[in-house]
């Protein structure tokens, strides 16, 4: 019984950051900007969250810092890909590299150790009662509502599908895209902050450990739909939790570690076919 509860809490706490980042990715992609930079936004969120807590000792301020850190990189990604028309795959990969290097340097400068930060004040409430979990749930609903019910959502989807057409009906294409990537950065940053100041109480170099990439996969698998994101992330988190729980029964751990990835691959092959991203991803309004 204990174990089943443990698997479920584990599933949730591993899914929360993935859901947040993937939600961010959904907004970004829906506005026509590919979101390979999620990893960098999570990293910044995790780092800045700790930084905020370190300097203020206040958890709320820490969360805000984390969100701001993610938003900063979201904005960078936006400016590069919208204003300077950088290939979005490259911008994403470049920012991912930059985020890890920059945070490591900052750790060196601030804490004189480039591996991990000191322990800081943290939320530490466990996933079921954490404020970030509630923000996440609200974000899922809000994102769904905004995307599919509001005027802004309609415009955003229009921009993502066909920026040229959106421009010809007078929509402020760039502004909408900037809003979208900043929101994306905020959500992914919150996901990162969850890792560092809720689940743990410190920043460790590269601690997002590839979650940003997994969030990209989840977002695609979910067909860029906020509700489906939750489902897909839970499938992934669940298989990971089960994998952890089943370790130590003779199967080599490396084989066990493949399970969530194989599950995702199978879902991809036999469950979710022909995923078409918004037609305007990577396109510009003025070409």
């Amino acid at each position: 019984m204990n174990q089943i509860i443990s698997i479920f809490t584990s599933t949730f706490s591993m899914s929360v950051p993935l859901i947040l980042a993937a939600l961010g990715g959904v907004i970004s992609v829906r506005s026509g900007i590919m979101a390979l930079g999620l990893e960098s936004m999570m990293t910044m969120g995790a780092f800045c969250g700790v930084l905020g807590s370190y300097y203020t000792g206040n958890v709320a301020a820490a969360i805000l810092c984390g969100v701001a850190g993610g938003a900063l990189f979201g904005l960078c990604h936006g400016i590069l890909s919208v204003r300077y028309k950088v290939n979005q795959v490259i911008s994403g990969i470049g920012l991912n590299l930059l985020a890890v290097a920059a945070t490591t340097l900052l750790m060196q400068l601030i804490w004189n150790n480039k591996g991990s930060s000191p322990q800081v004040a943290s939320i530490k409430q466990g996933v079921l009662t954490s404020p970030i979990t509630f923000i996440m749930l609200a974000a899922v609903a809000a994102e769904y509502f905004v995307l599919f019910r509001t005027r802004f959502g309609l415009r955003l989807r229009m921009v993502g599908e066909n920026p040229k057409a959106a421009a010809t009906v007078g929509l402020p294409v760039h502004r909408i895209k900037y809003i979208a990537v900043v929101c994306c950065g905020m959500l992914a940053g919150l996901g990162g902050a969850y890792l560092s100041i809720d689940h743990l109480d410190m920043y460790v170099r590269d601690m997002s450990a590839g979650r940003g990439y997994i969030a990209v996969a989840i977002m695609i698998l979910a067909r860029y739909n906020p509700i489906m994101v939750v489902l897909c992330a839970l499938i992934f988190g669940f298989s990971d939790a089960v994998q952890i729980s089943l370790q130590g029964y003779g199967v080599p751990s490396q084989i066990m570690a493949m399970i969530p990835y194989i599950v995702t691959l199978l879902v991809l092959a036999f469950g979710v076919r022909q995923i078409t991203p918004p037609a305007g991803v990577g396109a510009h309004d003025d070409e």
Partner: protein, 368 residues
């Protein structure tokens, strides 16, 4: 993304090891002539003309562990003997050979210190190429001509923590439970870490043959988030003591200990200060002292090639309870000291190999 550190990464988060990389005094090269290949070292107590090169292990500085400890050791030596040093942080195992070679090629260094057993082969090649170069290889059991290797045993390092856990899980310690279950978590499934696991298990079964030892692998040295889940999962299965050998992922295991209100063991340096109420002890390995001693020997002219052991006898590995607030019952403490003596004296040889574990446990049972 890329993998975490390579072989040899282990626990983290210490307080004793001087953490961090102070900005190096520029070592850009001003060894006013006197270096050559080492013969100036003979008899010199003052090392101010000496220069040492340090090739760290993959994973690099900031691990509050292995690499940071080595760095702390060499800075201490710098203070005491006035030597100069340069160091490098390899980014992958494939870079080890060219880095070792670059040090040797300059012929500026009186001693090159290499860390971790994955440098065995590069060092073998380099020592053949530059037979006059003095090289120390730490944490390796290889016998290489002209190289001083310092061997430590993972099985000795974690054995005493196993003893505490094995006795503690059935004791009336505050956070222990009735289940006869304990656990051990590796960062990655690597052979030398597995020796640590076997040592821990052997230690526990030495005092408590029926104890169940859960094993887990996080899959990365830099994922404390997953480390924590792994820890929580084990605690939920009834474990009350967990030894982590997981680099920075181990920090997550400490988090799990706090959340589940159970016990954990640190590894590497003394990590008890990370959470003195839940970390009972740390399975330490004094890499800093090993580095210091190698430098010292070269300064004092006592450096000698060959295989050196640095075990429990030399107090280089073992169990350190200093700084922990956990109240360990006196009988356990006594047993730990007793067993420490038996290992140091060579009376008891911890098991290293999982295949031999059952036989070893049958053959070795603790009696006062």
């Amino acid at each position: 993304g890329s993998q975490g550190s390579g072989n040899g990464g282990s626990g983290a988060g210490g307080t004793t090891a001087e953490s961090g990389t102070d900005k190096k005094e520029n070592a850009g090269g001003n060894t006013d002539g006197g270096s050559g290949s080492g013969n100036t070292a003979e008899g010199a107590k003052d090392g101010s003309k000496m220069k040492v090169g340090l090739v760290l292990s993959t994973g690099g500085l900031g691990d509050k562990n292995f690499n940071d400890m080595a760095y702390a050791g060499i800075t201490k030596a710098q203070e005491d003997f006035g030597i100069e040093f340069d160091y490098v942080e390899p980014s992958s195992v494939s870079d080890l050979l060219p880095l070792d070679r670059q040090f040797a090629e300059t012929e500026e260094y009186d001693l090159i210190i290499a860390i971790a057993s994955d440098q065995e082969e590069p060092i073998t090649e380099i020592s053949e190429e530059f037979p006059d170069q003095k090289i120390s290889l730490l944490d390796s059991a290889a016998e290489i001509d002209g190289v001083s290797t310092v061997q430590t045993e993972w099985s000795e390092q974690t054995f005493l923590a196993g003893v505490i856990a094995g006795m503690g899980t059935l004791s009336d310690m505050e956070l222990a439970n009735e289940d006869n279950v304990i656990g051990v978590i590796m960062g990655m499934d690597l052979p030398n870490l597995r020796e640590g696991v076997v040592g821990f298990t052997a230690g526990a079964k030495y005092v408590n043959p029926d104890v169940e030892v859960l094993e887990g692998v996080v899959g990365a040295f830099n994922d404390p988030g997953k480390g924590k889940e792994m820890g929580l999962s084990m605690y939920s299965k009834g474990a009350d003591f967990i030894q982590c050998i997981a680099g920075a992922s181990g920090l997550g295991v400490f988090g799990a200990a706090k959340e589940a209100d159970r016990y954990a063991f640190g590894v590497g340096p003394n990590q008890n200060g990370e959470d003195p109420d839940h970390i009972v002890a740390s399975s330490v390995r004094s890499v800093d002292e090993m580095v210091y001693n190698e430098v010292k020997s070269i300064v004092e002219g006592t450096w000698e090639p060959g295989l050196h052991m640095s075990g429990m006898k030399e107090n280089a590995v073992g169990c350190d309870m200093e700084g922990s607030n956990v109240a360990v019952p006196d009988d356990i403490k006594a047993a730990v000291e007793d067993i420490r003596g038996r290992i140091a004296s060579g009376e008891l040889v911890p098991c290293k190999n999982a295949d031999e574990l059952d036989a070893w446990v049958q053959a070795n049972q603790y009696t006062k």
